[in-house]
């Protein structure tokens, strides 16, 4: 018996969300008096380093080719079967969401997604998940012998690494029984943290008036190393790419800090961002509904306040 963490990679490097999965697996394993192990596919990073997050053994899978959700899922399921893992932890990244349902079918396992807390009970395993676009929580009990838990990226956070190295062993990818996918092109932003994984997010709405004004938003984001996001009308009008659209019908995020500039705070917008740990709102209208959901607020004109805040952040960064 063991608890298996899936370690997702990007261009060979472990994704940040993978460390959360590793640490979560270690936690669940401890509660169940067993060990946490991991499976990593197509990694160039050293799997032994996962020992720092409580993993004792890593199954390293190479040469799995371009991403194919069934190859990944069947390989994870094969490791789970070989190691008699009762639980599999997978981050709810875009990749993880392609994989987890297929793993649950392959293992006849219960699947609980959207998790941002540790299990509240182990018999039966019961875990709280976010639902209703952050307007509620639901505790789920699993009913199968095996369970798959999918975590909200950046939900629990990555704990500080401890001393430890994991034993590494090779495992072959399961290439058969997977419908073919020919990947033609992958287009991904460079040098920026993908929005779902971002700890700091600077976001702006229709209050910015025009796409050409986004330089002040970019500058603010850059001053603290934040990712940028936007409200739905902004992406609908093509001022910003769709991948930046957050909210009920866009990406749901839960960064440590969300700075909302010139966004009114419609219920559909809040649905995607209210799980943020701290929210700052900058808006000319003191009655903007967003202030009710905020931790800190400034009533003011974005074109005056934002450049000043950028300077203040730069000064802070220079001193700290």
């Amino acid at each position: 018996m063991s608890i298996l963490a899936f370690i997702e990679t990007w261009e060979g490097k472990f994704k940040k969300a993978s460390f959360e999965s590793a640490a979560y697996a270690a936690h669940v394993a401890k509660e169940l008096n067993t060990e946490a192990i991991a499976v990593v596919i197509n990694a160039t990073d050293d799997p032994a380093a996962l020992g720092a997050y409580g993993i004792s053994k890593v199954y390293r899978v190479g040469d799995a080719g371009d991403f194919n959700n069934y190859v990944w899922a069947n390989t994870i399921a094969a490791v789970a079967k070989e190691t008699e893992s009762t639980g599999v932890i997978i981050s709810g990244t875009f990749g993880g969401k392609m994989i987890a349902p297929a793993v649950s079918i392959a293992l006849e396992a219960s699947l609980v997604t959207n998790i941002s807390e540790k299990p509240s009970s182990t018999n039966p395993l019961t875990v709280r998940r976010s639902a209703f676009s952050s307007k509620g929580f639901v505790d789920y009990a699993v009913k199968s012998d095996r369970f798959i838990l999918s975590l909200i990226p950046n939900g629990i956070g990555v704990p500080a690494p401890v001393d430890g190295t994991a034993e590494v062993t090779s495992f072959s990818p399961v290439m058969e029984n997977a419908p073919e996918v020919k990947v033609h092109e992958v287009d991904r932003v460079r040098g920026k943290i993908p929005l779902p994984e971002a700890e700091l997010v600077v976001s702006a709405g229709r209050g910015l008036k025009d796409a050409s004004n986004w330089n002040i938003i970019e500058d603010l984001a850059e001053s603290i190393g934040a990712s940028t996001a936007c409200s739905k009308p902004v992406s609908d009008m093509g001022w910003r790419p769709h991948s930046e659209h957050v909210g009920q019908t866009g990406i749901a995020i839960n960064p440590n800090l969300y700075i909302a500039i010139g966004i009114s705070g419609a219920i559909q917008h809040l649905a995607g961002v209210s799980a943020s740990k701290k929210i700052v709102v900058i808006n000319t209208d003191p009655e903007a509904p967003f202030f009710k959901a905020a931790d800190y607020g400034i009533v003011g004109d974005a074109f005056e306040v934002v450049p000043k805040l950028t300077e203040a952040f730069k000064k802070f960064k220079a001193e700290n």
């Binding site: 069934y70 875009f94 997604t113 505790d139 009913k143 609908d236 800090l257 559909q268 800190y296």
Partner: protein, 248 residues
Amino acid sequence: MKVLVCISHVPDTTAKINFTADNKAFDKNGVSFVINPYDEFGLTRAVWMQEKQGATVTVINVGTAETEPTLRKALAIGANDAIRVNAEPKDAFFVAKQIANIVKENGYDLVIAGRESIDYNGSQVPGMLAAMLGWPFVNACVGLEVEGEKAKVIREIDGGKEKSEISVPAVIAGQKGLVEEKDLRIPNMRGIMQARNKPLKVVEPVDAQMRTEAVHFEKPAPKAPVKMIDPGEVETLVDLLHNEAKVI
């Protein structure tokens, strides 16, 4: 080409969420329900296939009789017919099993679902369905062109997009991008009239074990009041973010 569009029946995006007094269920009192927004994009994409490629479009929902107005709305938007599997959709595995059964019985060339239901935010049903059928699966699909036995698809990945080619039949979990916001259709009078006479077949569920059980519902704790900062004192904000909130 036969296209099946999965329709989740969900609370309207502005709905206030409440739970029953015993915290054992979602309280539907006073809540109006709509077609899951992600499914609307898929439905419109399917209707385009009907208009341009001669596809027939069937919509399906696993739900009790109260979801029928939502299915009728999908018919008014342009689907040819509807199927309702008569069961409370309590668990994604159960729902996927019902849809898989209908797919096997009727034989479809493509299934279009949504990226997630905006009520339980599960992101489970389409991926499970695809795995049950052994079909290719594309999640968070923002581009779809079906040509014969092949489909060119674009899906969202963390921080970008991936273009690929798959074979059909396949299961697509879509979102905005399959069609744009401006392309979404609002049912007109003629569509609503026609929808009344379109077939809506009710079938009983097949046996399937639930694999999860919702045991407790809870609302988030109320937020502390906002701290207002003078626009001339942005340094105060920086200080609070560092020392009080500890986020920078």
